[in-house]
């Protein structure tokens, strides 16, 4: 019996035979379990291996608290900066046609393609004691490298594209007619932005902020180059984890790590919720 063109089988031409499907699913699940779930589980079990008491003691330690505070501070500065930049860049790219537009799009992606360590080194070369602006900064008593400003700079650089990349395709997709409609109705440019543009992109913006925030708090490479790892002063959470680990203080290291992992899980949950609830207003989202 041949399978004619009109048979139901041919409609599902892309469906693989059952064994293949099962094999693929098992492979994917096994991979996820091995490389994602297992490490996550290890983080939490190690953190709690000496009991809840010593787990909580980890966070009572002044250096740990300083690291958490610094991480939050960096995120609080870097995320709003990148929101402002991302909004401005995607507005310019999506709503205007100008020379160098494609160059700008390419530049926005640069932090994704450059190794974070290289990004950190660039800042050392510019602002470090032997760097380009080193002598000038020293004369004026401004500390950037091995201080908080350097960490903020490195984080801003690395998290640069998250908001813009999220907004550009959406805003290009939406075009400018909504804004034009508001203008013909007599709205001021600020009112147009507040009541038309912003509501149209709010979910994509929140999505970008979530991703940006997760990366800002978790960044290791670039920050580690510029930080100098001074305990209690220039250690962020990821750096603190490494130091504790190198000192064989596993409970404390995994304790802090579990906090970071928890943060990632919250971000993931938020991201999934947004995708599920507002899939249409995130349309045109490009992959990373």
């Amino acid at each position: 019996m041949s399978e004619g063109l009109a048979s139901p089988r041919s409609i599902a031409a892309l469906t693989e035979p059952r064994p293949v499907r099962i094999a693929l699913t098992v492979a994917a699940v096994a991979f996820l379990a091995l490389f994602l779930l297992l490490p996550l589980a290890v983080v939490f079990t190690e953190a709690l291996s000496k009991g809840l008491g010593s787990f909580l003691d980890t966070f009572a330690e002044p250096d740990a608290q300083a690291a958490i505070r610094l991480t939050l501070l960096v995120a609080v500065i870097a995320v709003p900066l990148n929101v402002a930049f991302g909004l401005a860049a995607s507005w310019a790219i999506a709503k205007f046609d100008f020379r160098g537009r494609n160059l700008l799009i390419t530049l926005i992606d640069l932090p994704f393609s450059v190794s974070p360590v290289v990004a950190g080194l660039i800042y050392v070369l510019i602002f470090g004691a032997q760097g380009l602006l080193g002598p000038f900064l020293q004369r004026h008593g401004i500390e950037i490298i091995f201080a908080v400003p350097g960490i903020v700079l490195a984080t801003v650089f690395v998290t640069f594209p998250f908001v813009a990349r999220e907004l550009i395709p959406l805003m290009q997709d939406q075009g400018t007619t909504d804004e034009e409609a508001a203008l013909t109705l007599g709205a001021s440019p600020w009112r147009v932005f507040r009541t038309v543009t912003l509501p149209n992109i709010r979910w994509a913006l929140l999505y970008g902020v979530l991703l940006c925030n997760a990366r800002a708090m978790g960044e290791f490479g670039a920050v580690s180059v510029v930080s100098g790892r001074i305990r209690g002063l220039t250690n962020t959470m990821p750096l603190h984890v490494e130091i504790l680990y190198n000192e064989y203080n596993y409970v404390a290291a995994f304790g802090i790590a579990s906090l970071l992992a928890l943060l990632a899980l919250v971000t993931l949950a938020g991201k999934t919720f947004l995708e599920w609830r507002h899939a249409d207003s995130l349309a045109g989202r490009g992959g990373h």
Partner: protein, 379 residues
């Protein structure tokens, strides 16, 4: 033999009706009210390479008039509408609203109502808030109190026959309903002129027809000066008091529907407002010659020398008169209205569909008599 001629290009709209409407307008608004909108010598080009979008367009729109900007895509009709609205800044020329020169007044302060082709409703606002948007955008001194905004929005919802949908979101409305909301939103700011860009372009045929009639009614009720852009000649002929026909950034003709239809100013207008059969011909010795044969008596005032002879399919019928034009049947078929033959006239560029009463087969030779014809000088 007299065949029943089914108009193929223009829908079954009575010409007399159009004429009556145009005449009533001619005796009304145009002569008494001055101009509501005037554009003078508008120039607009996009970039260096492409053709100019508008090449010196001038046009007067009378108060209360319903004017159609008709043309093929790329003719500049939407650009002209956007220039009037202030959404495009012309490279040259002036725009007047009444006596006021509005060329340099930004779009926010021009007081136009603009309905976009795809409506551009604010999707995060309810129908009510969409319509109220313009009123709420006013600076505090000119903003009406909340009760008045509510009353006005409700009046508009009644006008556009959607009184129960105030709390819906645009995503929950059909295309026709969105169109109505967009119109109500534009009317809410009491615009000096209402501008509609392809108002029915995105709707299916039945809804289009209903909305056309409805828009005509609204216009009668409100007396709102209205300009709408369309590429659909039926829509323009049926709705508009006057039609401005654009081609390649220039106005070819402005006139009442019966004028552009019965007295087209150019070959372009002739072929754009209805289906046309075109033949290369020559006018001499008081006759029109095709392929060296005299086919028609020339009317006085027709240009001499090489011309394009243009014929409407519904002016053609199979006949044996001495002026009949020879042609070959390409195809014969039944339609809802009767039987038609696709006939390639000798010397014509493309075949025409003519209503016939007999059965023909491809290849049959026939002769067609023209009840009316127009000629345009070549070149």
């Amino acid at each position: 033999m007299t065949a029943t001629l089914a108009p193929a290009g223009v829908s079954g709209l009575a010409r007399d009706d159009l004429r009556a409407r145009a005449d009533s307008l001619a005796s009304g608004a145009v002569h008494h009210g001055g101009t509501a909108v005037r554009v003078e010598g508008i120039l607009k080009s996009y970039g260096g390479a492409g053709p100019a979008a508008l090449e010196g367009v001038s046009l007067d729109i009378a108060p209360g008039e319903l004017l159609a900007l008709l043309g093929p895509s790329g003719s500049g009709k939407t650009t002209l509408l956007r220039v009037i609205a202030g959404l495009e800044i012309p490279d040259g020329g002036r725009v007047f609203f009444g006596r006021q020169d509005t060329t340099d007044i930004p779009v926010q302060r021009r007081g136009v109502g603009f309905v976009f082709q795809h409506y551009a409703l604010f999707r995060h606002l309810t129908v009510f808030e969409n319509i109220a948007y313009g009123l709420r955008s006013r600076e505090r001194k000119r903003r009406p109190p909340e009760a008045e905004i509510k009353a006005r929005v409700e009046r508009l919802l009644d006008l556009v026959q959607l009184p129960t949908l105030a709390k819906r979101y645009p995503g929950q409305l059909s295309g026709g309903q969105r169109q109505r909301v967009a119109l109500a939103r534009a009317l809410a700011v009491e615009p000096s002129v209402l501008l509609l860009d392809e108002p029915f372009g995105a709707l299916d045929a039945q809804v289009r027809k209903d909305l056309r009639r409805w828009l005509r009614e609204i216009h009668r009720e409100t007396g709102q000066t209205t300009i709408f852009v369309t590429h659909d000649q039926d829509e323009a002929l049926e709705l508009a008091d006057r039609i401005a026909i654009l081609n390649r950034g220039r106005i070819e003709q402005v006139g009442a529907p019966h004028e552009v239809q019965d007295h087209p100013a150019s070959r372009f207008v002739m072929s754009f407002v209805g289906e046309t059969a075109r033949l290369a011909a020559e006018v001499r010795q008081g006759r029109v010659w095709v392929d060296g044969r005299p086919v028609l008596a020339a009317e006085s005032g027709w240009p001499q020398g090489p011309v394009d002879l243009c014929l409407r399919p519904w002016d053609l019928a199979v006949g044996q008169g001495e002026n009949a034009l020879p042609g070959t049947v390409r195809e014969w078929r039944r339609t809802g209205r009767g039987t038609v033959a696709e006939i390639q006239l000798d010397g014509a560029e493309a075949p025409v569909e003519v209503a016939v009463t007999e059965v023909y087969r491809p290849g049959d030779r026939v002769r067609l008599e023209a009840a009316a014809a127009r000629v345009f000088a070549r070149g």
